[in-house]
């Protein structure tokens, strides 16, 4: 009989090995699925993982990886802080939307004046928008003990309704022939978030995402905030005795994650997306939750997980294009990745024992 024994301490080896094993198992199970669909599994997996990086048109898709991974990493870094402390901000998607709305509104308010102040003002507005939206579940939790999972998630739908209203009303492009959506900010030089080095995909948001990884790493390992976060996550009671104010921690963690999600929205609306529209949000806030866990809530891990996730998106498109694989199969493949990760994760905290437990 197989039984699971809780390890006295999470296994360090398994913490590091889990993602690799999960990726390997995903390739095997995914390959099997592709084979069942009548496609060559080796070619499918090569198309997803290899072609975007080194295929015939990799010079186009490599920069696109950064564009896709940037917002995921930025949001996931913020989320990981709270997740480690046991504070569950599930509403990053809404904070992302609010960041974009506030940033776009700021830019459009100044339009068409060309001045250097536009872009910094939009950054501040974007961060504030996300931060304040995250303060709603944070303060409700601190003051009334509400569940931040529910409140932050529900606020995503409120944010989506607000986005629709803005795209159709206040921020609608007056020259858009009556169609919903704002002016194109990417065509407004003072507001445009363009590539820092043309053709690399490295826009300000991606640069900030990399910076966030470094700062996140320093905070988690060297700063008192990181210590408090880890302490609260491991033992809330010990944290309270250790002088950590739980309410303060909720506000700080929600604030940081909301602010970063807002910034991601800002850089997206000013750059790759260009405009606010009803369908502006495409799920970065939710995917970032997967990225955060795939990256073991560790900043370096998140960086790699974000890039991996972006790879599966772009590679998935190529697989559709070149092999006529249905989108559902690609999504299954992405789902397997998370499934195997969580399944293998058991080994981090538990060890398998065969036979009966010895009586102590």
């Amino acid at each position: 009989m197989i039984r699971l024994d809780r390890r006295p301490e999470p296994s360090r080896a398994w913490t590091i090995a889990t993602p690799f094993v999960a990726v390997a198992l995903t390739m095997v199970a995914g390959g099997l699925m592709f084979a069942l669909l009548g496609k060559d599994p080796v070619e499918a997996i090569r198309t997803i993982f290899w072609d975007p990086l080194f295929g015939d048109f990799a010079s186009y898709s490599r920069p696109q990886l950064l564009v896709k991974a940037g917002p995921l990493i930025l949001i996931a870094i913020g989320l990981s802080l709270g997740f480690r402390a046991g504070i569950w901000n599930i509403g990053a998607e809404g904070q992302y939307i609010l960041g974009a709305i506030c940033a776009a509104a700021t830019g459009l308010a100044i339009y068409p004046a060309e001045t250097w102040i536009v872009f910094p003002a939009m950054i501040v507005a974007g961060a504030l928008g996300g931060l304040l939206w995250a303060m709603i579940p944070a303060l409700l939790k601190v003051r009334f003990g509400t569940n931040e999972v529910l409140v932050s998630l529900m606020l995503v739908y409120v944010a989506e309704a607000l986005l629709a209203s803005m795209s159709l009303g206040l921020l609608r492009n007056p020259e858009g022939m009556g169609f919903p959506g704002s002016r194109n900010l990417a065509q407004y030089p003072s507001a445009a978030n363009l590539d820092l080095i043309p053709g690399t995909g490295l826009h300000w948001g991606v640069a900030l995402a990399f910076a966030a990884v470094i700062v996140g790493q320093v905070v988690m390992t060297r700063h008192q905030l990181g210590f408090r976060v880890r302490l609260a996550g491991q033992s809330p009671r010990a944290a309270v005795f250790g002088g950590v104010n739980p309410g303060w921690l909720v506000v700080v963690c929600m604030g940081i994650s909301g602010g970063l999600a807002g910034l991601a929205g800002m850089f997206e609306v000013a750059g790759p997306a260009g405009r606010l529209s009803i369908d502006f949000n495409v799920g970065y806030g939710f995917t970032a939750i997967i990225v955060a866990f795939l990256g073991r809530l560790n900043p370096i891990g998140i960086l790699l997980a974000g890039l991996l996730m972006a790879l599966t998106y772009i590679g998935g498109e190529l697989a559709q294009l070149q092999m006529n694989l249905p989108l559902a199969a690609i999504q299954m493949f992405q789902g397997m990745l998370l499934f195997f990760l969580l399944a293998i994760d058991v080994l981090t905290n538990f060890s398998f024992r065969f036979g009966r437990r010895a009586v102590a």
């Binding site: 090569r46 015939d56 529209s277």
Partner: protein, 358 residues
């Protein structure tokens, strides 16, 4: 060793051979879809068009598609990848792909683009759409005759001219045959989301609607109507025959097959030119699906007569006298709406209640 190098090592071990690109003289035709090909609505019909192209030209063409592409930067990336991989002609089948289409078309002047339901054109970008409102008028007639509660529910997708045009066209006909009729419009803000569409349908049924018209693509409203019992619906974009004879009593079918065959043919012959196409019932781009026996024979007859009259040009669904919702004059007695006004329609006609969201 980083995560990525391991990963690459693994894939490298699994086989390095680079796929041979189709570099022969086949004409490569790309399709980018906003929904899944299995939506049995809008995207499904476009994919039927793609299959018709394959059927028509066989080995002379190769078609590729990507489904459920979000409008925005993702669409631009997919279009760029298609163009890079040698597509000669790309159909972008949703209004929201307009900006992405224009941007990519500018970068690839040798690739031809066909954008559905948009208004921006270039030397290598055509636009095409169907006069769905002609079908809406026929639907409106049946709806007005069939309703007993005199409340007709309408699930709108987005408040854009195409959708508003459909609401107006249906209302005008319904009102003509049933002066008591009232329209309730719910905006779903999606083209395809079965959960939201079902919710909208249920809300309308709860509000007393016994006829549901939809401008969204899933069959969820049909299922909701079936569950509710005495409610009728119409197939949208595709026939949705699974729900016949009731709740689905008829449908508007988008038939892109001939248009796609013609345009691909033009690329093969080298005669392709940028143009704007807006065809209706007469060209076969808009079809009325079979009217089932749930509809009384005389109503069916009247509906088919209207359909024929529209096809022959004898009747235009927007013929005066018509006023706008605010009471101002729009069309004088006998006057017919011009295409420019219809293309940018952003107002309700007199009698419709509620506001267009803005």
């Amino acid at each position: 060793m980083t995560f990525k190098t391991v990963l690459l090592g693994a894939t490298a071990a699994m086989g390095l051979a680079t796929g041979a690109m189709a570099q022969d003289d086949k004409t490569k035709v790309g399709f980018i879809y906003v929904g899944p090909v299995g939506d049995l609505g809008w995207t499904y019909q476009h994919d039927q068009g793609r299959l018709a192209v394959e059927e028509e030209y066989g080995d002379k063409v190769e078609t590729v598609y990507v489904e459920s592409v979000p409008e925005g930067p993702d669409a631009e990336r997919v279009l760029t990848q298609m163009a890079l991989q040698g597509a000669d002609l790309i159909f972008t089948t949703s209004f929201g792909f307009m900006e992405a289409t224009m941007n990519v078309a500018q970068k690839f002047p040798d690739v031809k683009f066909e954008h559905a339901t948009g208004y921006q054109r270039a030397d290598n970008v055509s636009t095409y759409s169907a006069r769905f409102y002609e079908g809406r008028a026929v639907q409106g007639l049946i709806a007005g005759e069939m309703t007993e509660s005199n409340i007709i529910g309408y699930i709108g997708s987005y408040p854009i001219p195409e959708v508003i045009r459909g609401i107006n066209a249906a209302y005008i006909q319904a009102k003509k045959v049933n002066p008591e009729v009232e329209f309730r419009v719910v905006w779903a803000y999606t083209w395809f989301d079965p959960a939201k569409e079902a919710e909208a349908a249920k809300a309308l049924i709860d509000a007393g609607a016994d006829v549901i018209l939809q401008h969204t693509d899933s069959t969820a409203p049909q299922a909701a109507a079936q569950e509710a019992g005495d409610v009728i619906t119409f197939g949208q974009a595709s026939d949705m025959l699974d729900y016949a004879p009731k709740p689905r009593v008829s449908s508007i079918i988008d038939n892109w097959n001939q248009y796609y065959i013609d345009r691909v043919g033009a690329v093969i012959d080298g005669t392709w030119e940028s143009k704007d196409t807006w065809d209706g019932i007469d060209a076969g781009m808009v079809e009325i699906g079979e009217i089932t026996d749930a509809v009384p024979a005389e109503v069916k007859e009247a509906a088919l007569a209207l359909k024929d009259a529209i096809a022959s040009g004898e009747v235009h669904p927007f013929t005066g006298p018509l006023k706008k919702q605010d009471g101002s004059d729009w069309l004088a007695e006998g006057e017919v709406a011009d295409d420019a006004t219809l293309a940018g329609m952003n107002f309700y006609v007199e009698g419709l209640t509620g506001d267009i969201p803005q």
